[in-house]
Structures are given as structure tokens and as C-alpha cells.
């Protein structure tokens, strides 16, 4: 028997496969038994009620998709009343994703959501920070450190910080999140993108721009997961474009301790269950006792064909 369990800080997950926020809900329970998943990660909620963005909210781009759902939310009260009890029927740990327009509002929600039944809080610091001109907290190390400190002070639950690819300072932001008290990093959210319908000349999303997810995002977020795993000591949870068992392995080898599967579930609702089976089969076939033996096993010193020449520029 191979061991699929992984450790994310104090939390032990039965396997490293879990859904990505916003691409999963209680509705998936009509398809398969959610207890099979390593964790259950909810759509981001806000304190108050929000409607989300105008439609159209999704469009297809070559082999991937854009979304501008926004964060429609019923508010924290109804979430605690209805959703937390729903997920308590499952033994996979519940991870609640939250967000706020300001660091203080964010921290307040963090405190309010720290209720029994919630195993960890994923803080979506990729969302716009109203006090920083709408730039996401996780675009800059300073705003990341600031918001993480406030969130850390607001709860004793494990805090997973979800980073954004819309930055040139991934490693610095990762270190800031760690310094601010994150127990794990989720790497990453969607990449800001756009698509225009040539016939009508209208943007194909009602909100003009939206986030790129799916296979096109993978090389970008895999690079970030690798950079983060090198930069910090806390676990990294890979996310972005994971559609096949090879994608799962690629992230684990790059240094991720677990992965989140997003858009792929829209294409194949049962894909996570199939990945768990395939991961077990892979370990068995290759005589690898534990999935933890894969984590960070990238042979990055041996990448170059020769070492006669090497420069800094990519």
C-alpha cells in the first residue's frame, strides 16, 4: 500500500488533491462522494452580500477559459448557518476561502469565519485592495505583509495565502506572506486577461477583463510554485491548469506539497477522483512508498545539456 497523505502545516490531508476555490461547491456531491478528496475548498466569500460581475462571465480562449465571475456572496452569516453544517457531514477538512476590500474588513471576516467545522482559512489576497488603488494585496510584498499580519492576528486557524500571477515579484511576495504568518501558500490564482469578439467588436466578458485559467496558465503557475517552494519553508499548494495526472506530478516534483484542481473539473467533473486513482497507481508502479517522496524532487541542477555556457538572461 502506497501512502497518499500529505502534511500542510498542522493539517494532514488523506491525499494531495483538492478543488480550487470558485470551481467547486456542494453541487459536486451529486456526482461523487466528496469524502474522496484531500480537502474541500469553498468559493471565496465576503462579509456582506455581493452580486458579482455582469454577464457574460466566461468565455473560451484557445484551449483555456477566461472568467469574470467576481465574488457573488450571500455574506458570512448565511454561510455559517447553511454551508458549514453541510460540509460537516464530510470528513475531508473544510477550507473556507475569504476576501475583503480592505485589510481590516478582511481581518474581521477572518475572525468571524473561525468557527468549529472550519479546518483552515484560505485568504484570497489576489483580490483588489481598495486602499491600494484597486491593486491586489498579493501584487506587492508590503501590502501582502500588512494584510497577512492582520489576518494572522484575527484567527488561530491555519491560514493559506492565495497568491496572484499578476506580479513581477513572486518570491518576495511569497516571503512576505510567510513572514506575515501564512501556514501555506496557494500558487496561484488566475492571470488578468482579455478577449474581444472581432465580429461585434465587444469584449467577450461583461467586465471587460477577467482571469485566465486552464492549460494555458500552467507553465506560468508551475514556475511560480517552483519559485515559491524555493523561497519559503512553509508548504506550497500548486494550482493552475492541472488537468491530468502528469500535471499533478509536475507540480509535486516542482515542490508543491498538494494541488488544487480548478477548470479541469468543468471539463470532467470526475477528474479529481480519477487523479487520485492514477496517483496511487503511479506510486505503486514506480515503487515509490509515499507521495511525499515526490515533493520537490526536481533535478534542476541537471537541466542543461552542457554547462559550457550559462547566462542570467531568460
Amino acid at each position: 500500500m502506497v501512502d497518499l497523505s500529505v502534511q500542510i502545516g498542522d493539517l494532514c490531508l488523506k491525499n494531495p488533491i483538492m478543488p480550487a476555490s470558485g470551481t467547486f461547491s456542494e453541487d459536486l456531491a451529486t456526482v461523487f462522494d466528496l469524502n474522496q478528496l484531500g480537502a474541500l475548498v469553498t468559493k471565496t466569500i465576503t462579509r456582506g452580500i455581493r452580486q458579482g460581475n455582469p454577464t457574460p462571465r466566461v468565455c473560451e480562449v484557445s484551449g483555456s477559459m477566461l472568467n469574470s465571475i467576481g465574488i457573488p456572496s450571500k455574506g458570512v452569516g448565511p454561510f455559517i448557518a447553511d454551508m458549514v453544517p453541510f460540509y460537516q457531514a464530510y470528513n475531508s477538512p473544510l477550507v473556507v476561502s475569504i476576501s475583503g476590500n480592505t485589510a481590516d474588513e478582511f481581518a474581521r471576516l477572518c475572525e468571524e469565519i473561525s468557527v468549529p467545522g472550519v479546518a483552515a482559512i484560505e485568504v484570497n489576497i489576489s483580490c483588489p485592495n481598495i486602499e491600494e488603488d484597486g491593486k491586489a494585496f498579493a501584487m506587492r510584498p508590503a501590502s501582502t505583509l500588512d494584510v497577512m499580519r492582520k489576518l494572522r492576528a484575527a484567527t488561530d486557524l491555519p491560514l493559506w495565502a492565495k497568491l496572484t500571477p499578476n506580479t513581477g515579484e513572486t518570491s518576495d511576495v511569497a516571503r512576505a506572506a510567510e513572514e506575515g504568518g501564512a501556514d501555506a501558500l496557494v500558487v496561484s490564482n488566475t492571470m488578468l486577461s482579455m478577449s474581444i469578439d472581432v465580429k461585434s467588436r465587444k469584449p467577450r466578458l461583461g467586465n471587460l477583463m477577467g482571469g485566465l485559467s486552464g492549460p494555458s496558465l500552467k507553465p506560468i503557475s508551475l514556475r511560480m510554485a517552483y519559485q515559491c517552494a524555493k523561497a519559503v519553508d512553509i508548504p506550497v499548494i500548486g494550482c493552475g491548469g492541472i488537468s491530468t495526472i502528469d500535471d499533478v506530478l509536475e507540480y509535486l516534483i516542482a515542490g508543491a506539497s498538494a494541488v488544487q484542481v480548478g477548470t479541469a473539473t468543468f471539463i470532467h467533473p470526475t477528474v479529481m477522483v480519477q487523479m487520485i486513482g492514477a496517483l496511487e497507481a503511479y506510486l505503486t508502479e514506480h515503487n515509490i512508498p509515499s507521495v511525499r517522496d515526490l515533493i520537490g524532487s526536481v533535478r534542476d541542477e541537471e537541466a542543461a545539456d552542457t554547462v559550457v555556457f550559462m547566462e542570467a538572461a531568460p
Binding site: F32, K43, T55, V58, C59, I69, H268
Partner: protein
């Protein structure tokens, strides 16, 4: 290979809420007329526990220049658990449906469903009126079958650009429906004419419920007639979808509710909605 579901649905889920991802085999995929094609699948029995108005989320193949990525929602045109058959009537609209049209008999097609809320037929409704245009007939066809099964009287007003594009007329007639056809070419599909026809039916045999789908014009007409005569009704709506399961919230539309306008997901609360709650677009 044979048609098969790809996973086990938990026992705790009520039979009528179970959703399956499954591989089906194409039995045939033929043009019905210039615009529409009929896709007949060999489907596992589990997935055929459907309600008229529900839909499947279809993974169109990657084929030739076509590389659809997301699934495409398609109303169930026919579902026959006895013979393990699932049918879709579709129109080539873009990349996904163009790729779908290239599927050949014997090939495999991955479908997710049945999905969404179907039509309701209250026990005390006897005379049902169905009003549809073009591919909308696909959505309403299984309703006709269900009406026959329940012994209801059904009148179907079928609208199209021209007479040769009228579809499924025989299908509806075989099910004992009374058919009224209207076409643009004959000048019989305009609202004034339609209103006259429906008012006539209301005054004559009477109508207990309206069923329609897809057109703003028809929606408005039926809302007015429904309000005027106190006749309930349902409408099937469309919206761009990603997950089809209620998870992503991309398929919302606005609906009238007591406390203002609310958003509902077409894939989950719909695609069938109360006629009076629906809003034009």
C-alpha cells in the same frame, strides 16, 4: 467499447438528483434539414432517468480546425431508457457544434447529466400549450412525450422561418398533439397573428399552462396573455455555461422576485423557470 458511466454516484444522493459523467457511443448523427442535425447516442441506463426540459453538458470533439474547450449544453430531445437511447437535436452555431457535426457512428462522446430542473405538469392541468421556434422544439419535444404519457391534451404552435424548416411536426403529431404551424415566409408568425391564435385556443378548448423557450418576443407575448387570463407557464432559458453543475456561477440571469431582482443559475435553478419571473434580454 460500450457506453459506460465513469464513476460511482453516492447512494445518499436521491435518484432524481444524480449526475453522471459517461461515455456514450454515437448510433447516428444525421442532418434533419439544412439547419439541424439529430444525434442519437447509445447511453448507459443510469443516465436516462431524466425529466423533460433537462439538459446534458457535452464534450464536443477536437476535430479538424475545431478545438472547443468548454462543454456545450444541449437539451434532451429524446430519452428512452428501454432502448438505452439519448437524442439531441442541434444546430451548428460555432466551433463546438461544428465539431459535433463531424462525429461518426461508432465514435465515443463524453456527456455529463442529466442536469438542471425540467418542466412541471401539475396534476390538474389538462390542456397544455407549447409554443416554440426553431431549435426550441428540441427542448419541448420530450415534454410532448411526457404529456402523452400522463394523458394530457397538448397543442403545439411551431414557428419557423419557412415551412421546410419546421421540424418535429410528425414527432409531435404522432404523440397525439394538435399542431399549429406558423412561418415568417407565410406571414403567419407575427405577434398579432399568434396572439389571435392563442386567444382563440383560450376561448375555445381552454389552456391550463404555457410552455415556451428561447425567444424574447414569445416570452413577452405569453407573459401578457398569462397575466391577463391567469394562466401559469414555464420557460426554458439559455446562458453561457462553464461547469453546468451550479458551481461556477457564470450562467446567472436576472429574475423578478418579491424583493427586487435576483440572480439565478440557468444550469441549476433552471433551465426551466416560471414564465412570469423571467425577464427579457
Amino acid at each position: 467499447m460500450t457506453a459506460a458511466v465513469l464513476h460511482v454516484t453516492p447512494d445518499s444522493v436521491p435518484a432524481n438528483e444524480r449526475v453522471f459523467e459517461s461515455e456514450c457511443l454515437v448510433k447516428s448523427n444525421m442532418p434533419v434539414n439544412n439547419d439541424y442535425r439529430l444525434l442519437i447516442l447509445d447511453a448507459p441506463a443510469e443516465i436516462l432517468n431524466c425529466t423533460p426540459g433537462q439538459f446534458f453538458h457535452i464534450q464536443c470533439p477536437v476535430r479538424g480546425g475545431h478545438q472547443p474547450y468548454l462543454r456545450r449544453p444541449m437539451s434532451i430531445y429524446g430519452y428512452f431508457p428501454e432502448k438505452g437511447e439519448l437524442q439531441f437535436l442541434y444546430k451548428i452555431a460555432g466551433e463546438g457544434t461544428a465539431a459535433l457535426a463531424e462525429l461518426e457512428s461508432g465514435e465515443s462522446l463524453n456527456v455529463v447529466g442529466p442536469l438542471g430542473q425540467g418542466f412541471h405538469i401539475a396534476d390538474d392541468w389538462q390542456n397544455l400549450l407549447l409554443l416554440a421556434r426553431g431549435v426550441g422544439l428540441a427542448t419541448l419535444a420530450p415534454l410532448a412525450l411526457e404529456a402523452q404519457r400522463l394523458g394530457k391534451k397538448l397543442t403545439a404552435i411551431c414557428s419557423a422561418r419557412s415551412p421546410e424548416l419546421l421540424m418535429s411536426i410528425d414527432y409531435f403529431r404522432d404523440l397525439g398533439a394538435e399542431i399549429i404551424t406558423v412561418t415568417d415566409r407565410e406571414g403567419t408568425s407575427d405577434l398579432a397573428h399568434l396572439q389571435g391564435v392563442i386567444e382563440g385556443l383560450i376561448a375555445g378548448p381552454g389552456i391550463d399552462a404555457f410552455y415556451t423557450c428561447g425567444s424574447n418576443r414569445l416570452l413577452k407575448l405569453l407573459q401578457e396573455l398569462g397575466a391577463k387570463h391567469g394562466i401559469p407557464g414555464e420557460i426554458a432559458l439559455e446562458q453561457q455555461m462553464a461547469c453546468g453543475l451550479g458551481m461556477c456561477q457564470c450562467c446567472v440571469r436576472s429574475f423578478r422576485a418579491e424583493n427586487g431582482i435576483v440572480h439565478k443559475r440557468v444550469c441549476k435553478e433552471g433551465p426551466v423557470f416560471d414564465l412570469q419571473e423571467a425577464m427579457g434580454w
